[in-house]
């Protein structure tokens, strides 16, 4: 009997690691309203919003003093977070009064991440930089850090606003969505049919991007057809298999595939390459340039959309320094971030990094992350 129960349990977990499919209607992980940008390059007008971040309790005066900082990304060991931690290290070196180290879970697991942060609160740090694996689950431990007088700044993946002071937003969701859909429309034509390969439907960033992409596509490229969205976890072979299945299912109808993660995008490009459909099926996606170089060089992929994660880490470290010094306080409208210049405050307690970068054959070799 134990055997039977165990097999059923194993099967359930197995099911999460194999494929998930979904019909065309998007029922993504959140019900937040979408805010598509203008179809041309007009920037969005941000509505003023009062500060909604948290604040540390009885924080000591850290102005000008060396800060002991721990950076806890979603996971360590992937190109993307290696790049953010390089940016943090660059900023620390430039500022001179930040003693930063990166320590994260070896896989993107919220429980491991909470344990790590808890340990650093106990051992005593001045500042915590984080990229949350789950916006809600991470909130209690971050509030504990604030209560211990630690400065807390997020980047890449947010927590609930009151659990941290500021969040460095790499790109607004609608900005990424516009860059992705515009690139796809340019490659497949205004009436192309496309599918999406994502990690899971409930991964916060990916769910928001897809919701914004749907809104922007309906507004600015109404003739494009969204066929389907499939899940592929953070699994390269599964991403490859899922893309192949989409190619097999739709045949010539499918003109483009969006990859929503830096694991899915190269795997999707590999599937298109091995199916000998380069030039017939466009691959547009979020990915680190290094992972995409072979496919861009082979002319199979023309647009890779991403912000610069080195700049993201760099900005996060500058924001933390400014918060500790008191130069970035609730109500501020911008913050100085070294070589990046003035970054603007949006949504109450977020700092916007800037417009996303579209990497192509012309510029991809200038980047190494």
């Amino acid at each position: 009997m134990r055997n039977r129960v165990l097999s059923a349990l194993l099967a359930l977990s197995f099911s999460t690691s194999l494929s998930h499919a979904q019909s065309a209607a998007w029922t993504g992980g959140d019900d937040l309203p979408t805010n598509p940008l203008a179809c041309d390059a007009t920037p969005a007008t941000a509505a003023a919003k009062p500060y909604d971040g948290g604040s540390p309790t009885n924080a000591p005066d850290r102005k000008g003093k060396t800060l002991k900082v721990v950076d806890v990304p979603k996971l360590v060991g992937i190109g993307y977070f290696n790049a953010t931690s390089k940016g943090i290290a660059d900023a620390a070196k430039e500022i001179g009064t930040i003693d930063a180290k990166t320590d994260g879970p070896s896989k993107a697991n919220i429980d491991d991440q909470i344990t790590l942060i808890d340990n650093y609160i106990t051992s005593g740090v001045d500042g915590i930089l984080f990229a949350a694996n789950d916006p809600v689950a991470i909130a209690p431990v971050l509030k504990k850090a604030l209560a211990a007088g630690i400065n807390v700044v997020g980047y890449d993946a947010n927590s609930t606003p009151d659990a941290r002071q500021w969040f460095v937003n790499q790109a607004e969701f609608n900005g990424i969505a516009k860059a992705m859909v515009d690139s796809m429309a340019k490659e497949t034509g205004e009436d192309g049919a496309f599918a999406i390969v994502t990690s899971t439907f409930t991964t916060p960033n990916q769910a928001r991007w897809i919701a914004e992409m749907a809104a922007y596509q309906a507004k600015c490229h109404p003739k494009m057809k969204w066929l389907e969205t499939v899940e592929a976890q953070e699994d390269n072979i599964l991403s490859f298999n899922q893309t192949n299945t989409l190619l097999n299912k739709y045949g010539d109808e499918l003109k483009g595939v969006f990859g929503m993660t830096s694991v899915a995008t190269p795997a999707a490009a590999d599937a298109v390459t091995q199916a000998k459909k380069c030039g017939k099926v466009a691959v547009v996606g979020l990915a680190t340039p290094n992972a995409m170089k072979p496919y861009v060089a082979a002319d199979c992929v023309k647009s890779v959309v991403l912000w610069n994660p080195v700049d993201l880490g760099y900005a996060a470290a500058h924001v933390l320094r400014a918060v500790a010094d008191g130069t970035l306080a609730p109500g501020a409208t911008s913050v100085k971030a070294g070589k990046l210049g003035d970054l603007s405050v949006i949504n109450g307690s977020e700092i916007l990094l800037g417009a996303p970068t579209v990497f192509s054959k012309d510029n991809i070799n200038n980047f190494d992350f």
Binding site: N3, H20, A21, Q242, A275
Partner: protein
């Protein structure tokens, strides 16, 4: 819990039931899984004939072959009464070794052979700790899992291996018009199944898994066999790595999450008793194919992801129920 050793071929010749009945008694779970695969193919084919296009069959059978190959070794370990939760991390380490050698310019056969040999060496250590130090295999392999996963990230620094030489990418090639991963999966499954059923060594594994003390009493060198089965499992992990590492043009420093669980599940759903002593490697391979088929089918029939677990749960219940009825009938 029964201590009866479930040895398929040892039925006394005096009571010979019909061929079909014997087939069902020996391979009940395997037949049920096979039937599920066939029914699924028939149904989805009617909804969308492209499901059985050559390309999609390749995706289903070749795309997950590395899991099936790893599950062969896992089935043997579980049949012997042990478990290995470190195989996913091991495959990650072996893929990095293999890719690094290939990029460094070593002949591709060295890059293919290395993961097999290193896999055997690593698992020899694990097997020795289990057999001679008598540490439960789940503890040893949990330790190995952490060491290898952490070590891999420290070693690679998270960078991906690119610029793999085209000759190295064996999983993308074909022999006699069949994709290499499919050939690997079928040949290895058949050889391992014959060996497990007809060799004295293979049959001793069932005896050890059924009742280690009884096996020892009958003269089976339990410790040596335990080390050996882990070494063989390491070789299969190495063979799985060859497929895993050569499927794409880049090798990532991270392995698919929960790969070890996926491999264990394939063995268990295929009819390998988690308590040891029964099951076959044919079952583990069929179970891998079943889940690959389900994954593809769900996309083809536009089943919402929110139905997925329900669908799989129903299939599992049906499979398990059929197996229970079969066992009840036999006892």
């Amino acid at each position: 819990m029964s201590v009866i050793v479930d040895l398929p071929p040892t039925r006394p010749a005096t009571e010979r039931p019909g061929f079909l009945r014997r087939l069902f008694a020996d391979y009940g779970q395997e037949l049920v899984v096979l039937a599920a695969i066939i029914v699924l193919f028939a149904v989805v084919m009617l909804v969308n004939p492209r499901f059985i296009s050559a390309n999609n069959l390749t995706t289903i059978f070749a795309g997950n072959a590395y899991i099936a190959v790893a599950a062969i070794g896992m089935a043997m370990v579980i049949i012997t009464g042990h478990i290995d939760v470190s195989v996913g991390a091991l495959i990650g380490v072996l893929a990095t070794i293999s890719g690094t050698l290939a990029v460094a310019g070593y002949p591709v056969w060295i890059a293919w052979l290395a993961p097999v040999l290193v896999g055997m060496a690593v698992n020899a250590c694990i097997g020795a700790l289990v057999a001679y130090a008598r540490i439960p295999s789940i503890v040893v392999t949990l330790g190995a899992l952490s060491i290898m996963r952490g070590g891999l990230i420290s070693f690679t620094g998270g960078t991906w291996i690119t610029d793999l030489p085209p000759a190295f990418l064996i999983a993308q090639k074909s022999v006699f018009g069949l994709p290499v991963p499919l050939v690997f999966m079928v040949v290895l499954t058949v050889l391992a199944a014959l060996w497990m059923r007809y060799s004295a060594f293979g049959r001793s594994l069932y005896a050890i898994g059924g009742n280690a003390e009884a096996a020892l009493a009958t003269g089976i060198p339990v410790e040596r066999r335990t080390v050996a089965v882990f070494v063989i499992h390491g070789a299969f992990a190495g063979l799985a790595t060859i497929l895993f590492a050569t499927q794409l043009q880049v090798i990532q420093s991270t392995v698919p999450p929960n790969l070890e669980l996926t491999v264990i599940t394939a063995a268990v759903i295929g009819g390998v008793s988690i308590l040891g002593g029964s099951g076959t490697v044919i079952g583990s391979t069929l179970a891998t194919i079943l889940f690959a088929t389900i994954g593809s089918a769900l996309i083809f029939v536009n089943v919402s992801a929110y139905w997925l677990r329900a669908v799989i749960g129903l299939l599992i219940l049906a499979t398990v129920l059929a197996d229970m009825l079969r066992r009840r009938g036999r006892l």
